[in-house]
Amino acid sequence: MIVKPEPAVQETNNIYDVYRIREDFPILKTKVRNKPLVYFDNAATTQKPQQVIDTLSKYYNSMNANIHRGVHYLSNIATDAYEDARIKVKNFINAASEKEIIFTKGTTESINLVANSFGKSNLKEGDEIIISNMEHHSNIVPWQLICNEKKAKLKIIPIDDNGEIIFDEFVKLISDKTKLISIVYISNSLGTINPVKDIIEIAHKYDIPVLLDAAQTVNHKTVDVQKLDCDFLAFSGHKLYGPTGIGVLYGKEKFLEAMPPFMGGGDMIAKVTFEETTYNELPYKFEAGTSNIADAIGLGSAIDYITSIGMEKIFVHEASLLEYATQKLEEVPGLKIIGTAKQKSAVISFVFDNIHPHDVGTFLDFEGVAVRTGHHCTQPVMQRYNIPATSRASFGLYNTTEEIDTLADSLKRIVEVF
């Protein structure tokens, strides 16, 4: 049985009806101190459409059972729905096979899986892993841990003042010791869209596999893993208008086949005796224990939702929001945008010389505007720009230019107070 959500948008023409789309998100009707909520914290997590909420509710109301090996009715429909969600993910990123789609609890676990499994079996003393200066902590710390264990080294691609990686420096870092390149596709704090296709092309000339952290990408633009030819790709469901606690690791079959399991337990085995255990086939080898069944199905529903609107349309809408917001925020006296890459996603980090981001955040909260303030789990980015923190407005498919006006007007008032 397949859980089919209601079609998200009745498209009668080519117009992107953001106001109609907003109707799908009940939380957007929230009032904050009698002011309409302006939700600009989408890079932290996105809100969920009614279709996803209904799917979760429907699963627990009428389908809940443990999956695989069950002989009873509920177990069968739960298994079908779970595996159907995997196919939706496979189609969404255009993977070659559903064997290459592993459900995890999020991007962090996906990267840790590769670091522990691929890292453990491929790294030896003196080997090198390449990451960039703009990584989220989740694409730094797992590599540090495994590098410490294996006495391997972490090499960092530097970034320039605009927040773009310095490509020549990246090329120089590659050596016969490089075992993997793990890089963020779109930076969560700078918005930079990295030239991942060029990176992968060069890496593959040297037979080096590439992992893409696509947590901030799959919700903003079409990702085709076969076109990109990336070897691994990690993302989270909750930044894709889906539930928390579910994520995906895509890996090319040849790598996943060769990699040892990350966790041991039920479901990931073929045969267990006390002398020896043989592992289950892909993708189950990497899904030990009872999976997050409901949220995987919820993620499938989120993918249906996004697909029904159309990723290309979402991309165009968000690009126009970015352009509008950049122009509006540049009009705010004293505001400086951090992250001015030519290729940028709908994320704007900004600072003031004399107003700390936390004060900005508190003032904006009183206007109903939700932004994130802090280091955004990218402390090396803050160190690179010699700033303690930024305020960050990140946009999603349901945001409007009127909301950006509210942000800009509020910021102008804050400047007057300080």
């Binding site: 936390h358 004060d359 009183f366 303690p388």
Partner: protein
């Protein structure tokens, strides 16, 4: 224009101390120092103390942080100067009660003097750490522990 509750948090005195913090320098005569760090927001502060015969003869601070943490450090520096170590510790207890809403305002707010302007913090649990970072760091310095104080 500004919401009254927000104005209560960001009183003029606080904005003034944020703009021109008092005793904002390195103290050359310091015999006790400590670094404070709030890992959640990246706020950093260095406290310098000149303590003689259990009395804080001089105090200064440096660092970066939000208006609340900067103003709190600045106000603390003006009020601690000349106080005994014991008085400073007691003052922090009272101050902490004030910003966490545990203080009976009628009884003891006078003793806090200018620090009372930070009472608005009690309505903002997320900002208690901002207001208390300087104090935690000052106490660490008093103990002459050469480690980093955190708000955690």
């Amino acid at each position: 224009m500004i919401d009254p509750q927000l104005r209560e948090l960001y009183q003029e005195v606080i904005l003034d101390h944020n703009k021109s913090p008092r005793n904002f320098k390195k103290l050359e005569t310091a015999n006790r120092t400590a670094e404070g760090y709030n890992p959640l927001c990246g706020d950093k502060i260095n406290i310098f103390l000149d303590v003689e015969d259990d009395v804080v003869k001089d105090i200064s601070f440096q660092g970066s942080g939000c208006a609340i943490s900067k103003a709190s450090a600045s106000l603390m520096s003006t009020i601690i100067k000349g106080k005994s170590v014991e008085e400073a510790k007691k003052l922090f207890e009272k101050f902490h009660d004030l910003i966490t809403g545990k203080l009976d305002e009628n009884i003891s707010i006078e003793e806090l003097g200018k620090l009372a302007v930070l009472s608005g913090v009690k309505e903002f649990p997320m900002r208690v750490k901002c207001a208390s970072l300087a104090w935690h760091t000052m106490l660490t310095a008093l103990k002459n522990e050469s480690k980093t104080a955190t708000t955690e």
